[in-house]
Symmetry: C2
Subunit: 302 residues, 2 copies
């Protein structure tokens, strides 16, 4: 089941109006780009897919729309995180009913969770459907730190078959993978998010690139991923350099604000991030445009 999680997983934004109603037309057009580009999987309702800012009903509408476009041609993953365990269970069942192939679950919290609480939360959600589930390890948004011991316990749960890791602070991907691989099951995919480090992480043996930019520009992201997956370090480095201005903006403003500005620039949606998040200023948008300009040297349209 871990196979579903391997390769390039493209994470699109979820265009929505000011009241949080998903713009299914704009969203479907984004999904179509990912389908045509033939990414390995489509990860909807991730952090930049604003899952925590959408109601249960709107999340279901988004999953149904994506499933209707992809028709099983690409793996469809959906984020089902919620503050309450019963809510996450309901979202997981909704996702399965709406056509998702896999689930993503982050340990979102208000009151910080203990390791034990996170374990039971994941076990409950993993048991709610027949779908494989990836642990969405995103300490920037969840402020939760998984111990290795907790990961080992979670990997024993049949449906939990992957983890989306943050970039290690010391950039020692090889060291982290060497530490984690022997502890987890063979049928368990370890991948990375944080676009600026993922080529290097894949060259070091990571299974998956959970990619924000692939949700918007799947073609150059696939070029970069394929170079990294085939061990072509030189080509990966050359391509990664073209992305550098964009990665710098991701680090400076957070990828969600930048990717919305980029989607606006490319006329893919007029939506802005949900308030209280603010759109970038025009000066900042100018820098996004320049970063996209640099990328247009690569083939960007599917």
């Amino acid at each position: 089941m871990a196979r579903r999680f391997k390769g390039l997983s493209a994470f699109p934004i979820t265009p929505a109006d000011e009241a949080g109603r998903v713009d299914v037309e704009a969203f479907s057009a984004l999904i179509e780009r990912l389908d045509v580009a033939a990414v390995d999987s489509v990860g909807i309702l991730g952090s930049t897919g604003i899952y925590m800012y959408l109601t249960r009903e709107e999340r279901r509408r988004a999953i149904e729309a994506a499933a209707a476009i992809l028709k099983g041609r690409r793996i469809l993953m959906a984020g089902v995180g919620a503050l309450r365990t019963d809510e996450a269970l309901a979202l997981a069942r909704d996702a399965e009913a709406a056509g998702a192939d896999a689930l993503l679950l982050a340990p979102v919290s208000y009151t910080p969770l203990t390791q034990e609480e996170a374990y039971h939360h994941f076990a409950a959600v993993a048991g709610a459907t027949a779908l494989p589930l990836a642990i969405y390890n995103n300490p920037t948004t969840t402020r939760f730190t998984f111990s290795d011991e907790l990961l080992v316990r979670l990997a024993y749960i049949p449906n939990i078959r992957a983890i989306k890791m943050p970039l290690p602070a010391d950039s020692d991907y090889a060291g982290e993978l060497a530490r984690l691989r022997p502890k987890l099951s063979d049928d368990f995919a370890i991948g990375y998010s944080g676009d600026w480090g993922c080529a290097e992480a894949t060259l070091a043996g990571g299974d998956t690139w959970y990619s924000v930019i692939a949700g918007l520009l799947p073609v150059p992201a696939l070029q970069l991923m394929r170079a990294a997956q085939t061990g072509n370090a030189e080509e990966a480095k050359r391509l990664d350099a073209v992305f550098q201005p964009l990665w710098a903006l991701f680090r400076e403003f957070g990828s969600i604000r930048v990717v919305y500005a980029a989607a606006n620039t490319l006329s893919l949606t007029v939506s802005e991030p949900p308030r209280p998040l603010l759109p970038l200023t025009s000066a900042e948008r100018q820098r996004v445009e320049e970063a996209l300009e640099a990328l247009s040297a690569l083939e960007t349209a599917p």
Copy 2:
């Protein structure tokens, strides 16, 4: 308007069933204890009042129930935090319509907020009703850090008249108050939460004790607060020592888990914290019982 926020503010839990439906009867009985004890204000739907785990409808039911008991005899504050600005606005209007006298707003987030984003979020919510609003500064749950500059900007907004501060890491309450007072308006109350430091913070000049234990045991909490407010350091220290076993448990397990166990022990509710939060184990509950036992030396029933 800052007056509404001064003194002992008692923060009760919100008993609810497993599906998040508020147990109005048990909640009303808790509110009645606070009314009889004559606390200065009642802060419902705070962090231990599980506001982030309740729907808009359930939050309104809780406010209506509290308002029906208090009938204007005590200031009623209500937490209106939400991830989306439009939701927080709706919650603020609901709170006003349901009979709240003041609002509490925390900068809850999924995507970490910038200072500018928090400013606009607070300004929007403060402008939505005629009620005064307290800034709920709780970095343990929100992971947001207010700069002094942001606090100054917020204190210029007419309705924003108080702040609930976390205990300073260095316990230098006097130093913090000396730094903040001149920067903020004269009509602005500075108070503290984190029960174990609040007697000391009040002795150092803090205006308010936003108290979890006062939500359960208002009588001994009032004794402690009155000693601190009148500058009777010796008596405050004597009383605070009786609370020490409970404070130790608050620090070890988080006050929410402990106060639910205490409420169960006192037969005030059978409710547990919302999952994924787990109730304390029986061994841990035994320690809560012992801590309550120590407190029974003080007069505990209103």
